[in-house]
Structure formats: structure tokens, C-alpha cells
Symmetry: C2
Subunit: 385 residues, 2 copies
């Protein structure tokens, strides 16, 4: 009954992913893995099945993927209301959350002792975590990144989908540029909506996340939602926009000046672009995430914006992306000695926010080739509109 399109991840690839995870868990000396995902942060689930939970305040929003190394097949636990749908699009057994306790208890009774990995620890609900912990007897539940590390390296099919999402994000930026060209008044909220419409018109299945457009003094806020503020000539404008295409997302950031602006605003645009350029030039397989981070961080420090940039102060200059806008690996930050590998996909970013002046985040999405890095988005970084 289930129809696959040319762009669907083929069933064989899902099988390979499960096999790779099995090896990873064995190597980490784990007895199995509990992986939590929800409607909005689905990667820990959707990496193995087309099933994605639904929006809600109840258990329809959640799912748990469970792999017991002694079992032939993994299990998926979902709300009772979603079992039919999940069964249709999943190649392994699906159970309702009502059945989770008994199945985990049987696993714990057999294994007796050892450690079970938990993926998604930073956002699992208290309710589900309690239910898991109460069902695993003497086993220890331990936060892991085994899955995060595996899915940091993307397949050809995945890269094609992220490339498409990146192209849709470029279209969104072009739609903002075109809208501003009419010389009329536009609010942040209107421009965000224009970007969203452009992504959907281009075939995005939705936005990757709620679009951010922040103008003037509001561009100096690190993260904010759009308001009814009208763009004024002289503003620096921060945007953070990404499309979702068939389960994969882009995470993009661009800022621009609007009308005639003071030189300090142009300097901010140039400094962020130069820092990201330095990262694009340095990124390649074989170096560590921390060394790539150091390149961008140092460029920001050198530009003189150290006190106005979280990246310059060591909070990281990029992160994995793919099925979720933000994935745990590779985190491009201080102390992450993970070696970067071909086909890792991640962002490289520089945020500069000067209170009273303005700011922007310039964020590119890249794939590592055999020897260097290929940006998956194409929109220019220095924008003076």
C-alpha cells in the first residue's frame, strides 16, 4: 500500500543504518539503545523509518526507537493513535507506548546487567524517561552520542535532499530581496511570511523552523521572532531561515544592510562574512572539529568583535544538520576532537550583535568532499540592499 517516490530514502538504506548502529553500540559496549524523538526533533526516529510523530501535547508527539543487540529487529514505540500509520511506513515491528514496559522489562530480565544508551537526553520528556527508567531493572541508562556520530555522515540520498532544502532557502532570501526592491514599507513579520511562502511555492514541505527576521536594534538580539517593526533605511537586518524538503532541512543565516547605512554596520557584515569564508577555506576531512572552530573563532577575535560575538567567545561556530535543523554531531566547537569526515554536513557560522547598532548571523551549510568543503547553499554573504 505504501507508495515510494524517487526521492524517498530506499528501504535498503534504512536497513544499512540499523546495521551500522548495531556495530556502533557493540563497539561502545552497550546492550542496546533507547532513542527519543518528537514531532519537531524527529532525527533520532526518522533516521530509521519514515514515521514522524504528530503535533500534540499528549503522547502522539513522541516516539522511542529501541534496539536490543540480541534481537534480530529493532522496535518502535508510538502513541496508540499512531500505530497504524507507523506500521505502514516502518520496516520493523511497531508497538504502542502501552506495550513498552513489558518489552523493556523482558529485555532487562534477560540482559541482567550492563548499560543501555539514551539518545535525545536533552529533550526527552520527564514522563517517558521515567517510564523507561522504571522498566530496565538493574541496567544503567546512559546518555550517548553513538547515533549522533553515525548520522553525522550523510549518504548520497541525504545530501541530495539537503541540497534541495538549501536551494529552497536561497529562494527565500531572493524573495526578501525582491520584496524590498519595491521601495514600500515592510515589517519583519511580512518579510518572514514572504520567505515562508517562497519556500512552500518552491515545493518545501514546510519551513525547517520558524523564520527569523530582525531589523534595526532588534538585529542585535541573538535569537528572536519577527514583530510588526517596519524596516527603516539605515537598518542592519538579521535573518535566520531554512526550508524542509522531504524530511531534510537547511539551516541558513544571512544579514543585510537596508538603504544607506553607517560604516559600522557595513563593517559588521564584512567581518561575519570574512570569518565564515575563513571556515569554508579551512574545512576538509581529517582535521578536528575544534581546529575548524578555532579558525573561525580566531577570525572573529581578529576582527575586533570579540565581546559582541558568541562564536568569538567560544560557544561554537557550527553544528550538524540534516533531519533536524540542529543535530548533535559534528559540533564545530572548542574541545570537540572529533575528526571531520567526507560527507559530514554541518553549518559554519558567525554571529555579531552590537547593542544599539545591530547585528547578523552569517551561516552556511556545507558538505565535506574528499579534500575540501562544498557549500550546499549559494546565496552571497555580503548583502547591501
Amino acid at each position: 500500500m505504501h507508495v515510494l517516490s524517487d526521492e524517498s530514502i530506499p528501504p535498503s538504506e534504512y536497513q544499512e543504518r540499523i546495521q551500522t548502529l548495531r556495530y556502533g553500540l557493540q563497539a561502545a559496549n552497550l546492550a542496546g539503545m533507547v532513542s527519543f524523538g518528537d514531532c519537531w526533533r524527529g532525527a533520532n526516529i526518522c533516521y530509521f523509518t519514515e514515521f514522524r510523530p504528530l503535533d500534540g501535547v499528549s503522547d502522539i508527539a513522541n516516539a522511542i526507537f529501541f534496539l536490543d543487540l540480541d534481537e534480530e529487529q529493532p522496535s518502535l514505540f508510538v502513541s496508540r493513535q499512531c500505530v497504524d500509520y507507523a506500521t505502514e511506513v516502518t520496516s520493523f515491528p511497531v508497538y504502542s507506548f502501552d506495550e513498552m514496559k513489558a518489552r523493556l522489562e523482558a529485555f532487562a530480565a534477560r540482559v541482567q546487567t550492563g548499560t543501555l544508551g539514551l539518545e535525545g537526553a536533552s529533550y526527552i520528556t520527564e514522563d517517558l524517561s521515567r517510564r523507561v527508567r522504571a522498566s530496565i531493572g538493574n541496567l544503567t541508562l546512559k546518555d550517548t552520542q553513538v547515533l549522533a556520530e553515525i548520522k553525522a555522515v550523510k549518504s548520497e540520498n541525504e545530501v541530495a535532499l539537503i541540497r534541495k532544502a538549501s536551494a529552497l532557502t536561497d529562494i527565500a532570501m531572493a524573495s526578501i530581496r525582491d520584496a524590498l526592491a519595491d521601495g514600500k514599507q515592510h515589517t519583519e513579520r511580512e518579510l518572514a511570511l514572504i520567505a515562508d511562502r517562497a519556500m512552500l511555492a518552491g515545493g518545501a514541505e514546510r519551513t525547517g523552523y520558524d523564520s527569523m527576521v530582525q531589523a534595526g536594534p532588534r538585529s542585535a538580539f541573538n535569537l528572536a521572532r519577527p514583530t510588526d517593526r517596519v524596516l527603516q533605511p539605515g537598518d542592519l537586518v538579521m535573518t535566520d531561515i531554512g526550508a524542509r524538503y522531504r524530511g531534510y532541512v537547511a539551516d541558513g543565516g544571512r544579514g543585510f544592510t537596508y538603504g544607506n547605512v553607517s560604516p559600522d554596520k557595513v563593517a559588521i557584515v564584512k567581518a561575519a562574512a570574512a570569518a565564515v569564508e575563513a571556515g569554508l577555506a579551512a574545512a576538509r576531512p581529517g582535521i578536528t572539529a575544534s581546529s575548524l572552530n578555532a579558525t573561525i573563532q580566531q577570525a572573529l577575535v581578529n576582527s575586533g568583535y570579540e565581546q559582541f560575538s558568541t562564536e568569538a567567545r567560544g560557544h561554537g561556530t557550527g553544528h550538524g544538520t540534516g533531519m533536524d535543523p540542529e543535530e548533535a554531531q559534528p559540533w564545530i566547537g572548542p574541545g570537540n576532537e572529533t575528526t571531520l569526515r567526507e560527507n559530514m554536513v554541518f553549518t559554519l557560522k558567525a554571529t555579531i550583535t552590537v547593542p544599539g547598532v545591530g547585528g547578523l548571523r552569517t551561516e552556511r551549510i556545507v558538505r565535506l568532499t574528499a579534500t575540501a568543503c562544498e557549500p550546499l547553499d549559494e546565496f552571497p554573504m555580503e548583502l547591501y540592499w
Copy 2:
């Protein structure tokens, strides 16, 4: 700096809400309230401030509203990255999560003993719940619905926004009807996208939740995401679609037959519509939620679909809606002896899913007037396309 539009909730209304909550907590003998919300289920936060968390796997996705009955003003705890934005749009003090421990400890040290209400218990993250519990000394943290009950009754401003979201949802259904009129082939996924585009074109700030369109055998799944299945003449089609407009949402459900269909499919459409009609006729202030539920439930049982309808089997026939698609109160279900009141806004629904035949969910959004109920959406319930 912050610009308010004509449609913004006025600051005075936010103040009234806080005052009403204060009375509610006193009446419930609570020392205060911790209210959790996230980027997607924001009602527990956005009821008091225009701040809404951002999409992410880290703490940017979360927020905690804290009201200590002994303090003049409540507090809002958010990610450090969101403090500037939250401060701009919030009328009371904002702190970063880093400061939460010390503030809760000071509260606990003063209060010494008693109970602190927790709102959002079913979806609070394990991480944040742990941090709250570890900071409140001898106080007990207890799940409450004090806030849920207060915000079940909507203000005039709120009803106006929900009405707008409902009108945008009607437009989405009309766009599906118009798309199907061309006689060409359409997939579930295409139709969902057409609905999303129509909502955004009409001015929706986004969809209220990811649109569901399920055709043929898939319409017999209670909840599912759209796939590449092409609609076939003879299909019953389930849709579940709602728009978001300036922080308020509609939650709508309609099914339709496509082309010439067998009489059993028409009968399903008629039975669901008749059950919801019975609810619309019965809904009024002064009756209990459980008695309204019984009216719809009985209509479904009488129609003969008892085994194919979750509502007929006592799982509830409606729920509050407003800032989140699904709000906890009023829950229209068995055992809820809450008395319905004027200006409560909620859905009334009937789902019938017959495996191998198909199904639909007919879901209306209504507001209680002084004496009866007024549907906020207008799209017809019996659709034969």
C-alpha cells in the same frame, strides 16, 4: 522599541491574566506555579507574554514562567540566547535558565513548606524538571490545571484571533476542493501543500500544525502524515488542518468522498456529521463537559460505528484550543464534570475509521455564547467531491 499592532493582545490584558492566575493559585492553596512551555506548545508561556521560544534541540526551545504568590511580579526563565528578545516583549522580569536555581532556592527557603503547582507536566523535559525539583527544598511539586482552567475562557481579543485562524482554515479546505476540480491526479502530499500555501497566502503566520491528508485505505488511520499516494475516485479522504494567526490557532477536521463512492463511505460521512451536529445543538453554558461528550458519543454509538470510533468508545469528543491546537481544558470527555462557561473555545469531533473502507474526522471549533454555541469555522461538514 516594541511595536504593537491593532491585533496584539494589549499589555493590560496580560496583567489581568496574571492577576486572575494569582487568585486561582490562592484558591487552590498553592504557594506558586511553575509553568512549562516550549517552541511548539507555547500556551503556558505565551498566555502571559509575547515571548515564544525558538526551535532547537537545546534550551532555546524551552521556557518556564514562575509565579511566587508573595512576589509583586512573576518571572520568566529562558535560554541565555533569548534573554534580550524575551525582555523586549515581556512586561515582567526575565532571567536566563542559569539564574533559575538561585531564584527557586530563595523562594523555597522563604516559603519553607507547601506545594508548588506544575503546569505542562505531560511534556516538560526531564532535564528542566530535574533542575526545578532540585531547587525547591521541602516544597512539593504537583501537577495542576489551575492555569488550564483559567485560560479555557477566552477574551474578546482572543476570540477575534481564533476566528481569523478558523477563517484561514476554511480557505485551506476551499483550496483543496478547487485543486481537485481540475480532474488531474493529486497526491496526499500535494493537497497538504496546497492547503498550507492557501493559509499563508491568506495571512496565516504559519500552519497551526503539520497538515494531514489521508486518502483511501489510509483515511482509516486515526492520525497520519501525507504520502505520495494519488487520490483515486472512490476514495474517502481524511483531512485535519488548522492555521495559526498571531499566536492563535484553529484545529479543524473534514473528510470528503472523491468521485463515485460506495454507499458505505457516504454513510460514514453522514454519521460523523450527524454526531457533531448533535454536539453543536447541545453545547451551551451551564452543562458539564461530560454531558456534552455523552451527546456526541451516544450519536456515534447509535449510528452503529461504535467499534470504529475512538470517540464512541469514550476517548473524548473535543478539547480546548487557543494558543496551542490542543489545550488541556475544557476536555470534552467522560468524567470531566467541569461546567462549561460562556467564551470557552473548544473543538467538537467525531472520528470514524473503518479498516479497508476508510474514515474521516469531522472536527468543528466553537465558542460558547451566553445561551448556546457559535461555530468559529464555517466550512460544511458533508462533502462529496
